[in-house]
């Protein structure tokens, strides 16, 4: 069974009097351990697809099966619980909490877990070490470079050892050298068995992935 199975996925928005069809019947399968990049022009629906896959955005039609669970059939706050244990997110602008240190930012997803304080600290320290930032855990985000902030964001996304790591244009705010470093880091994580689904507009990033899904006007064009 595939890790992610998407069937006939559609998402419509109301924009004033108009209805925008961001996704128009997407079918998709992602296997465990894959590194997938989703490419497309601005407005193609790639970020919408990522948010629906990530359990953040209810689809207008279709289903998302993830690790055998029908994501949007989960009742109440079960979807939030699913996100907290199975999924990790890296956002384009990192979205670190400015008043928490790097280590505290990484510990954030564990704030609601029943783990003990020492275990949380150890897990966060381990995640920071995996992204090569073990020595800067006590720094606030504004004392870190863009690349370092990205590393903290990745550490935060993997600290709870998620089954799938989602990244929404994670190199969008980085220079080319740092972008390459970050893509190398994602590749390393994937080599270690982490499933990665990344939205990007940079074709160079696709070279690091196993497969690229191209979107146009809310439809999948084909896989490379």
């Amino acid at each position: 069974m595939s890790l992610i199975e998407v069937r006939d996925l559609a998402k419509h928005y109301r924009l004033g009097d108009e209805t925008v069809e961001a996704l128009r019947g997407v079918d998709l399968t992602i296997e465990a351990g894959e590194f997938i990049t989703i490419m497309g022009q601005s407005g193609s629906g790639k970020s919408t697809l990522l948010s629906v896959l990530g359990g953040l955005n209810h689809p207008s039609r279709g289903s998302v099966q993830m690790a055998g669970v029908d994501l949007y059939a989960l009742a109440g706050e079960k979807l939030a619980d699913f996100r907290s244990t199975k999924l990790g997110f890296v956002f384009q602008s990192f979205n670190l909490i400015p008043y928490l240190t790097a280590l505290e930012n990484v510990m954030l997803p564990l704030a609601i877990s029943p783990m003990k304080g020492k275990e949380k600290r150890a897990a966060a320290g381990d995640a920071l070490a995996r992204v090569g930032l073990a020595a800067k855990g006590d720094r606030l985000p504004n004392a870190l470079s863009g690349g370092e902030q990205e590393r903290v964001a990745i550490a935060r996304a993997i600290v709870n050892r998620p089954e799938i790591l989602f990244a929404d244009e994670p190199t969008g705010n980085l220079d080319s050298t740092t972008s390459l470093e970050m893509m190398g880091l994602f590749r390393c994580l994937n080599d270690a068995g982490q499933t990665v689904v990344m939205v990007t507009h940079n074709p160079e990033n696709c070279e690091f992935s196993d497969r690229t899904i191209r979107l146009k006007d809310g439809l999948v064009l084909g896989a490379a």
Binding site: L56, E77, A80, R83, F89, E104, L108, R156
Partner: protein
């Protein structure tokens, strides 16, 4: 890392905003504490004065006439069939239901006597009870202890040209002036005070009384009930309450109390608005942050707990500060608000815990909608990920 770490760190980070919120709430709580404490202190002062005022129940002989005096000026009157109070009947007063509220019963007999060719009003009293009743009396000399000693009012002493230690003759009996009253500004200044038994003998009114004053003024005394109870026991006497002054002051205090509560209501409303607007602004500023929390798996209840914990911390801090500042304000304002300079500030535990509770409750209730709003934010909208 727990949820409260997020709340505390956010409070530390947004010092200016949280300081504004705390100060706003502190001012509100301080205003309420000041008003309530002033009201309580002034109530306490009035209750103390009520006790000091002396008698507030007057027992006089029943009469079927109309008194013709006004403002202390007597124009005579038409009095007939006057019944006197018998000294022996006084013991009945101590059998009334509310006898526990009676602090003193002071019987008096009055009558005119001639001293050195002048007519003077002689009053027979029981000095131990009279002095308990009239705590404001100040004596030059001592109160009479023996049957041949008298106490003179200041005006009487001046007119009769007598002072402590002098002697005088009444109805052929020699008396010694044991003391002179300091001027009181009342009718006591013109009187001669003798032991009750002596005065009754001199006035030929053995066993009879003209007036009985009962001191029952104290906080919460049911004066009206006591008047009725004494009247039942002494059907031939007229029992009345001296309440006008006290009631007037209590009425004024009641109005001040109502004003205080109205002010408190306005302050609570404004305080709630400040908390609401500030917390709502804070939530709006933190939209992205809340979106991140939701995206990484925080439940709506987790978001609410973060926001409400922040409100609770601010509320408790403002409650503590507000109580301190409010009590300080009350201490400064009390001398200007109360008549006496020796009015004691009332430190009430209920006000202390009440102000803390009010501040906490206010902060939580006013933050409830912002917290709900935050918890209902769509994570995708919050992250602007579309």
């Amino acid at each position: 890392m727990k949820l409260h770490n997020i709340s505390f760190n956010n409070l530390r980070r947004r010092k200016a905003k949280m300081a504004f919120l705390t100060v706003g709430l502190t001012v509100g709580i301080a205003t309420i504490v000041t008003l309530v404490t002033l009201t309580n202190s002034m109530s306490g002062d009035i209750e103390r004065k009520m006790d000091e005022f002396g008698a507030n129940i007057l027992i006089t002989p029943q009469q079927k006439g109309l008194a013709m005096n006004y403002g202390g000026i007597s124009l005579g009157g038409v009095t007939f069939d006057q019944k006197e109070i018998l000294e022996a009947d006084l013991s009945r007063i101590s059998t009334i239901k509310n006898r526990g509220n009676i602090s003193a019963v002071a019987p008096k007999v009055l009558g005119g006597v001639s001293v050195a060719g002048r007519q003077v009003l002689l009053v027979g009293v029981q000095f131990d009870k009279e002095l308990k009743l009239k705590q404001w009396w100040k004596l030059f000399g001592e109160a009479p202890r023996t049957a041949d000693e008298l106490l003179l009012g200041s005006e009487a002493a001046r007119v009769l040209n007598l002072m402590t230690g002098d002697s005088l003759e009444i109805e052929g009996e020699r008396f010694k002036v044991s003391g002179v009253l300091e001027q009181t500004g009342s009718q006591d200044d013109s009187l001669l005070f003798a032991q009750l038994k002596v005065a009754q003998r001199l006035l030929h009114k053995e066993g009879r009384l003209n007036l009985v004053e009962v001191a029952a003024l104290c906080s919460g005394c049911p004066i009206g009930d006591m008047v009725l109870q004494i009247a039942e026991k002494l059907p031939d006497a007229k029992v009345s309450a001296i309440q006008q002054v006290v009631e007037g002051r209590l009425k004024a205090l009641d109005q001040f109390r109502r004003f205080s509560w109205a002010m408190a209501g306005v302050v609570v409303f404004i305080g709630s608005l400040i908390v609401f607007v500030t917390m709502m602004g804070s939530v709006n500023e933190r939209t992205t942050e809340i979106g991140v929390f939701r995206a990484i798996g925080f439940r709506r209840s987790h978001i609410m707990r973060i926001i409400l914990l922040e409100a609770a911390v601010v509320g408790l801090l403002a409650g503590l500060l507000g109580y301190g500042v409010g009590m300080g304000g009350a201490r400064l304002a009390l001398p200007f608000m109360a008549e006496g300079k020796q009015v004691a500030l009332v430190w009430d535990g209920l006000v202390a815990f009440g102000s803390l509770g009010l501040s906490l409750g206010l902060a939580l209730v006013a933050s409830l909608y912002p917290a709900l709003h935050a918890s209902n934010l769509d994570p995708t909208e919050a992250l602007r990920a579309l």
